[in-house]
């Protein structure tokens, strides 16, 4: 299958290893991965912070870039939720019905990495090897907007060498929320400290998730505490083998 990768702006800028891992993983599974360098960002931060017209411009750019793709995969639940769930709404609010139709059509072929593997390709064992104690944080948009369900857990359970430890109160938000963490840092920190306490209680070496935005938040807290637990994107675990370690 020819897969167009939407790397997301955050991964492009701050977490290129996640992108490399996604490419390696999909190629290992026999797919052709393409990266269109015309891509930039999905516009989520702008829409969610109230900058609707700017978000629409970014969104228009995104649709132009990816409209002709067969299938688009992104290692981020949040950005895919933006595209699938909020693009049509944002276009509707702008009264642009043509854009709305294009958004709906595109949304049907954009997938978050784990739902793509498990629900679309029907794969659970990706041949990964990761000999570590890991806990999994289900990110809010993947869980409640995309409804990826236990797709990530199914993948993790098949990773050889990996010890999966259940995260207490896993469904609770980590407190990131994009610009929420900047506008309401105190509340965000209160949520983060509970999340971190729960993560540390699992005595895991790594906390994994399908979104580097949440992981950046959680990781920022873990790093400040100088804890031994590190944030690792799911793609990096799934891409890791005996021969090639990604995280």
């Amino acid at each position: 299958m020819k897969i167009d990768l939407f790397i997301t702006c955050l991964n492009d800028a701050l977490f290129p290893r996640t992108g490399e891992a996604t490419v390696r993983l999909l190629e290992r599974l026999g797919h052709e991965v393409r990266f269109n360098p015309a891509q930039t960002c999905c516009g989520q931060m702008h829409l969610n912070t109230g900058y609707r017209s700017e978000a629409i411009e970014i969104m228009r750019h995104f649709i132009d870039v990816f409209e002709s793709s067969e299938v688009v995969v992104a290692p981020s639940g949040s950005c895919v939720a933006m595209i699938r769930d909020l693009y049509p709404r944002a276009a509707e609010w702008a009264g642009d019905h043509e854009l709305q139709e294009r958004a709906v059509a595109l949304g049907k072929k954009v997938f978050e990495l784990t739902e793509f593997l498990v629900n679309h390709l029907g794969i659970e064992d990706v041949g990964a090897y990761y000999p570590h104690r890991v806990t999994y944080h289900p990110t809010c948009h993947a869980a409640r907007v995309l409804r990826v369900g236990d797709a990530p857990l199914k993948l993790l359970r098949k990773v050889r060498g990996l010890t999966l430890v259940e995260l207490p109160l896993a469904d609770q938000c980590c407190g990131f929320g994009g610009t929420f963490s900047i506008k309401n840092p105190e509340t965000s920190t209160a949520m983060l400290s509970d999340k971190i306490q729960n993560i540390l209680s699992t005595r895991s070496e790594a906390c994994t998730a399908g979104d580097n935005s949440c992981l950046m938040h959680i990781g920022g807290g873990l790093s400040r505490l100088q804890s031994g637990t590190r944030p690792v994107h799911l793609a990096e675990i799934l891409a890791s083998t005996e021969d090639e370690v990604f995280a």
Binding site: F15, H46, Y51, F180, I182, G219
Partner: protein, 473 residues
């Protein structure tokens, strides 16, 4: 002051500071919301057709909104036919005057009240006080809030932020009960004794309304303690205040809500008492009944295609109980009688999106979506939050944030500019990076690094890596 109105005195971030730094209050809130969350899931799981009932509840409310004037006129006619009187109030002040005038006509010094957020919304107690009439709250939690001269912090349990020991001390002091333990049963009993006298003697009662059925002129109050039944049955005069969005077209429509409300709010199969009455019934209950229909910003909410779904709300408080922001920041942070996720969308809209403090409320959410999952009438709260964030910016001049956002949008609408932006960020972060992380960021970003590190922009972006790889192939 027990009636707080809906105008926040501060921004959410400022108001949240207090609860976030009050460990007792945070413990109380955390424990209470955790308990009710688990209970709600169990109560909801018992009904196999829960999703269908939610859909039906939402559809009934949408139908009521689609023909609102028709249903209100039918309601008015039905109530009048049943011997009641109907009043219309444009805003809070007008509603307060209507209620005060009725009470004054009966020359009373006291009225008893069934818990009603709508009366709190219009700050009725203060309005009556100005006419020399004292309103006595009869719901246990409202009584606690009133005696403590506190503000309600939750829709269902206004005193959720108080624990049993605090309530015991309050009752000892204000109700003059000695030898009181902090057993909830004993505390409830102290309230019973105090209020019994009032129920038997006070002539005028004020209530809200959970629902009002247009076709029959029937008003409904859902409650637990029996204080509602007391107020609705024993006084000579009953005044019920309802927002115009509480109307239901038909009697059969109540079925959905009698299933949705108790399970979503107290997580019970059914609340202990639900009363329905139509106008006046000879020899049974108050012989004078007034229904006050309140707008107070609701028609403005109705006029907004996206925001209007907020009017479906049945005030169950499920969204508060599942909200991680509410759990930490508490109800007072919202500065309105409508706290939590529903308050974050309702309060600014009722104020016409003109109130700068209220306009910070839609930003008081991580958009985690737990509220939407819990809402029994499927209000897409995250969607409305995002929509209102946009609306709150309308007419706002340029500020540091908007300049930053617009600049970023410029970088993000063109790949060449985007690539340039990545390079600039790598250079610009220079002075802040230490050992591959950023420990302190400047300006409005400093809140982040108060408690978290920020990863530094790495030497190679993904697109650079990809380009490099393509060349090597």
């Amino acid at each position: 002051m027990s009636s707080g109105g809906i105008k926040p005195a501060e921004t959410f971030a400022v108001a949240a500071h207090e609860t976030l730094n009050n460990s007792q209050m945070r413990r109380n809130l955390g424990r209470a919301t955790m308990t009710i969350r688990e209970k709600r899931l169990k109560a909801v799981a018992e009904l196999s057709n829960w999703e269908e009932i939610r859909t039906q509840g939402a559809a009934i409310k949408d139908e009521a909104m689609a023909h609102l004037s028709e249903h209100l006129l039918t309601l008015e006619e039905s109530v009048k036919r049943a011997g009641g009187q109907v009043h219309w109030a444009r805003d809070a002040a007008e509603a307060r005057e209507i209620v005060a005038k009725i009470a004054l006509a009966h020359q009373v010094k006291e009225v008893i009240k069934v818990k009603s957020i709508t009366t709190d919304e219009i700050e009725l107690n203060g309005g009556l006080e100005a006419h020399g009439i004292h309103a006595i709250e009869t719901d246990l939690a409202e009584l606690i809030v009133q005696l403590a001269e506190d503000r309600p912090s939750h829709i269902l349990v206004p005193a959720i932020h108080r624990n049993r020991a605090e309530i015991r001390d309050l009752f000892r002091k204000k109700l003059g009960v000695k030898d009181l333990t902090d057993e909830p049963k004993e505390l409830a009993n102290a309230a019973r004794t105090f209020l019994r006298e009032k129920f038997l003697h006070v002539k005028v009662a004020v209530s809200g309304a959970n629902f009002a059925i247009a076709e029959s002129g029937t008003v409904c109050i859902v409650e637990s303690e029996g204080n509602g039944r007391m107020c609705l049955t024993l006084p000579d005069v009953l005044i019920s205040l309802m927002g115009i969005e509480k109307v239901l077209p038909r009697w059969e429509d109540t079925a959905a809500f009698l299933q949705l409300l108790p399970r979503s709010s107290t997580a019970e199969r059914m609340n202990p008492y639900t009363s329905f009455w139509s106008g006046v019934r000879e020899g049974d209950g108050p012989q004078e009944f007034h229904l006050v229909l309140l707008d107070n910003g609701r028609t403005d909410v109705l006029a907004d295609e996206v925001g209007r779904q907020s009017l479906r709300c049945i005030r169950c408080s499920a969204c508060l109980n599942v909200c991680p922001v509410y759990e930490r920041a508490g109800g007072h942070a919202y500065g309105s009688v409508y706290p939590g996720p529903i308050g974050a969308i309702l309060t600014p809209q009722l104020l016409g999106m003109h109130d700068a403090n209220a306009n910070t409320l839609p930003f008081a959410s991580t958009l985690c979506g737990a509220c939407y999952d819990a809402c029994p009438v499927k209000i897409n709260i995250p969607e409305v939050l995002i929509y209102l964030r946009g609306k709150s910016r309308v007419g706002k001049g340029a500020d540091l944030e908007s300049i930053a956002m617009k600049t970023m949008a410029w970088f993000m609408t063109d790949a060449a500019r985007f690539g340039l932006g990545l390079k600039l960020a790598r250079v610009g972060q220079g002075p802040f990076v230490k050992d591959g992380v950023i420990h302190r960021m400047p300006g409005m970003l400093s809140g982040w690094t108060d408690a978290r590190d920020m990863p530094a922009v790495p030497k190679q972006s993904f697109r650079e890596w990809w380009k490099h790889r393509e060349i090597q192939r």
